[in-house]
């Protein structure tokens, strides 16, 4: 399908999808009200309807001009590794503590690095953890659990 090779067309379709999803959520969960007496759903409703309209225009324009500029390759591995690294840090920060969470996140991140060198990455992990301890715990007095087993 040529349409999936145009960045504009795909963006437009995603706008339509997100707008429609919002619209459904507004209509099923919120009170829209009237212009003179706006409810909690009024503003999101207007925004989502406009978004669907914009999405239709973007898609239509892309299909009419037939410009398939080609979407650049999607690099799944770095994307998954970076988001996983952030998730891991969030999951471990309070439950296991800074000393576990940060090295774990950094070692996960190292999976995506070309020509990684594990001993060096371990040193980096230790150095970064120490630096964060000095800046945030000693310096800024933010209460972060250090180590919980």
């Amino acid at each position: 399908m040529a349409i999936f090779r145009s960045t504009d067309a795909v963006s437009g379709l995603l706008f339509i999808a997100f707008g429609t999803a919002t619209l459904v959520a507004v209509l099923t969960t919120l009170n829209v009200g009237t212009p003179g007496e706006m409810g909690s759903g009024f503003f999101p409703l207007v925004a989502s309807v406009l978004l669907v309209i914009v999405g239709i225009c973007v898609t239509a324009k892309a299909m009419l001009t037939g410009a398939a500029d080609g979407i650049e390759q999607f690099h799944w591995r770095p994307l998954l590794v970076v988001s996983a690294s952030v998730l891991v840090s969030g999951l471990l920060l309070v439950s296991a503590g800074l000393v576990i969470a940060i090295p774990a996140a950094i070692l996960v991140l190292a999976l995506a690095m070309p020509n990684r060198n594990w001993p060096v990455m371990l040193i980096v992990a230790a150095a970064v953890t120490g630096f964060l301890y000095i800046v945030f715990v000693l310096g800024l007095q933010i209460r972060i659990p250090l180590l919980r087993v």
């Binding site: 909690s40 503003f43 978004l51 969030g90 996140a105």
Partner: protein, 502 residues
């Protein structure tokens, strides 16, 4: 001459060795933390606020102001060197500033940013002192329809700024507006789009969205194509701007100062809109539009001057009306109230000494900033030459701990993880993330003023066109849109005609 006498007494207070020292400490700490990727002025001030509790009110405010300017400049430094804008106002600086850094002119970009900032700071301080009564009376006459129109104008300016298609940028604004409405509706108390999640009840964290869209998505891209990263390392030799740089930067900085001074004083304006508007303006007036996005000096000088001018003048509504115009001012207001000073018209009368010392320290803070940062440009530049496989873990770890530090809560970290995926997908689809951020910040204000306006007019939308101020602002927004659409239409038509001929 009341004003001169006031400034003189303010300078006398601010230049006392003790206050000068706190100003210096504030600027150093603010820059040091603001330079860390993803930590903008709000986060930096919030973190350092406790340090100032024990000081006397004047010293505390002077130090906080120093932290603010330091963080602002530090954010621009990171935006230029590593393309990681810590907050919305340095998003546009990253566009051309980082392009300059990639060409080995990072030092020049930093110097331009610093000089434009102090230039704007000097003039804006004068503006605050001289026009404070006039400007506050202008802001006094603003009603809800006018605020609504102002926000619309700010959003239109951001759409005009986006490099790609106007329609896509408009779509991003709308997505930002929707995301900004997540959480408890302050008006009705309804839970909007929380889907039963406790973490979503207070809304999405702005810093988390910015970090995901910019910092983390950027890490993904840099890991995916390592070649593009090595460019920035060659020859950051010339740090002082050339005569030609100056010739182009000075008018841009002057225009930026002008815009920033105006936008800063309007509630809800502030540094972010100012830098967006200044960038849009530079792109319009330049004779080299093709250079924008590829290292145009004006693209650094204009927005940097604008956000610094706005940073100063945004004190006006807070000090004189008690209305904080943005997150930073809300924090400053909180700090004043800890010292039993309630900002508002009575502060100008009752605590005039403090107000004038604060105004004078704005200027002193700016001067310290340049004295401190120009020699240290080399130090910041050296940050770039750290290999990315060491820098990336450090950036990521700093960001997640910073996110936790915002409210001792891990939920923003998960928000940032989600926006990493969204940000990367957006980059692949050539959608600009900046309009989304602006929509997100301004959404609640847009909604509140729309609701109030329509409540007063009983649902009649003509209220926006019958009030002179809102009608003018909307007309400017409309003109801005038309000015960009027309040439595109003409070019498109020409293109189609040419294709038809061939």
């Amino acid at each position: 001459m009341d004003i001169l006498a006031n400034i003189a007494s303010g300078l006398g207070d601010a230049a006392q060795p003790g206050n000068l020292l706190y100003c210096l400490i504030g600027v150093v700490l603010g820059t040091a933390i603001g330079v860390l990727p993803g930590l903008g002025p709000v986060a930096t001030i919030a973190m350092l606020l406790p340090i100032t509790y024990s000081l006397d009110p004047t010293a505390a405010l002077i130090m906080l102001a120093g932290i603010y300017y330091g963080a602002q400049y530090g954010g621009s430094t990171t935006a230029i060197l590593v393309n990681l804008p810590g907050e919305a106002s340095s998003v546009v600086t990253a566009i051309d500033g980082h392009a300059m850094a990639k060409q080995g002119r990072g030092g020049t970009a930093l110097a331009i940013a610093a000089l434009a900032s102090v230039f704007a700071g000097t003039i804006a301080t004068g503006v605050v002192a001289v026009f404070s009564p006039i400007l506050s009376s202008v802001a006094l006459s603003f009603l809800s329809p006018d605020y609504f129109a102002l926000v619309v104008l700010g959003l239109v300016a951001s759409v005009v700024l986006a490099n790609a298609s106007l329609l896509k940028a408009f779509g991003m604004v709308l997505i930002g507006l929707i995301l900004g409405s997540v959480g408890i509706d302050p008006n009705s108390g309804d839970f909007r789009f929380t889907f039963g999640s406790v973490g979503l009840t207070n809304g999405l964290e702005f810093v988390a969205i910015a970090m995901g869209l910019f910092a983390f998505a950027e890490i993904v891209q840099n890991i995916a194509d390592p070649d593009s990263k090595s460019v920035s390392l060659n020859a950051i030799s010339s740090r002082w701007p050339t005569r030609d740089d100056f010739r182009r930067a000075v008018p841009a900085a002057a225009r930026g100062t002008f815009l920033g001074s105006i936008f800063g004083v309007l509630p809800g304006g502030g540094a972010a809109i100012s830098s967006f508007a200044a960038y849009a303006m530079e792109r319009k007036v330049t004779r080299h539009p093709e250079e924008f996005g590829h290292g145009a000096v004006e693209g650094v000088a204009g927005p940097e001057a604008a956000n610094n001018a706005a940073a100063q003048t945004s004190f006006i509504p807070m000090l004189t009306l008690g209305i904080p115009s943005n997150g930073v001012m809300a924090l400053m207001m909180g700090a004043m109230m800890i010292h039993n000073i309630v900002p508002g018209p009575q502060v100008m009368a009752g605590n005039a000494d403090l107000v004038w010392a604060l105004i004078a320290s704005m200027w002193i803070g700016n001067v310290i900033l340049v004295i401190l940062n120009l020699p240290m440009v080399g130090l910041w530049v050296r940050l770039v030459s750290v290999p990315y496989r060491y820098l990336a873990p450090a950036i990521l770890a700093l960001c997640v701990v910073g996110l936790y530090g915002i409210g001792n809560d891990i939920f923003p970290i998960f928000t940032a993880a989600a926006f990493t995926v969204i940000g990367y997908a957006m980059a692949r689809l050539k959608c600009e993330p900046a309009p989304l951020l602006l929509g997100f910040i301004l959404g609640p204000m847009l909604e509140e003023n729309l609701r109030r306006s329509l409540l007063i007019s009983d649902g009649d939308v003509t209220v926006f066109f019958t009030r002179p101020i809102s009608a003018t602002l909307l007309a400017v927004a409309g003109a801005l849109l038309l000015s960009v659409m027309l040439p595109t239409l003409r070019r498109k038509r020409l293109q189609i005609i040419e294709e038809g001929d061939g």
